[in-house]
Symmetry: C2
Subunit: 169 residues, 2 copies
Amino acid sequence: MSPLDTVAGGLPTLDYSHPILYFEDFTEGQIIELGSLAPLTEEAIIAFARQWDPQPFHLDPVAAKDSIYGGLIASGWQTALLTMRLQVDNLLNETDGQGSPGVENIRFRKPVRAGERLAARFTVLVAEPSASRPTLGKVLGRTELLDDAGAVVYQMDGWTLIGRRPPDG
Amino acid sequence: MSPLDTVAGGLPTLDYSHPILYFEDFTEGQIIELGSLAPLTEEAIIAFARQWDPQPFHLDPVAAKDSIYGGLIASGWQTALLTMRLQVDNLLNETDGQGSPGVENIRFRKPVRAGERLAARFTVLVAEPSASRPTLGKVLGRTELLDDAGAVVYQMDGWTLIGRRPPDG
């Protein structure tokens, strides 16, 4: 079993019986597949918008038709959070992750609409020891969400603090 | 009445009886106060983490004690979304906003814990006409969340597309 194994139904599981991933397990250029998002329904797009981002083109199919998008689109924050959840379940919670100082370059490249199938991947851009904390490393990962045609619809470059392998690890 | 007026209870209201804000109403260096967040409870921090960002230091006060944060902290995404909601209610929905191509430089400068009082402000960094769409302008705004001592705990630089004032506006 690798730390990134999934259970039969495809749901990620955290298996504490094997070593977790440490900073030393990440190398620049490494690509990690994060799995797929369940396609959004119009109802889910509207419910998220009501709570967090009530702009007309996320909230109201009629108003959205008159917008530059020509129809209802998901809040970019909904796309970002769904992708983050996938990344936590399928990667970060398999590591000795210690949070994040920030995120660079969030790009909403294509609007996300109801019914689209999207898959995520994580590419290690930078892996370097922390200058201030000797027990931590810093990983900058580009997370991309791709549609069925392979086009990137969303991306972010996020920093993660990850524990270095302890001497007895 | 200005477009940013609020009703008696402090809740923002969209007053369609006066002109909304267009691209031309934004100038570089302009500062707009966005109001305050209701302080988070531990329960709200945990509930958000369960749904979107289930890392131990957002989810479990005991595990959080052993983390580099020394206690439970809110997911940075929760801080980001609460701030976004404030920005939509108190600014974007008063403009002819048309969505966003992306966000730069999200910084989680200080952990956010239960009970903290935080206020948001928006500073216009860039305001320029869209090169590709003559009816739109692009505004890059720095959104900052400040604590009672005036320290920035969270910031993001977000692009917003805003309609240009029509000839009859």
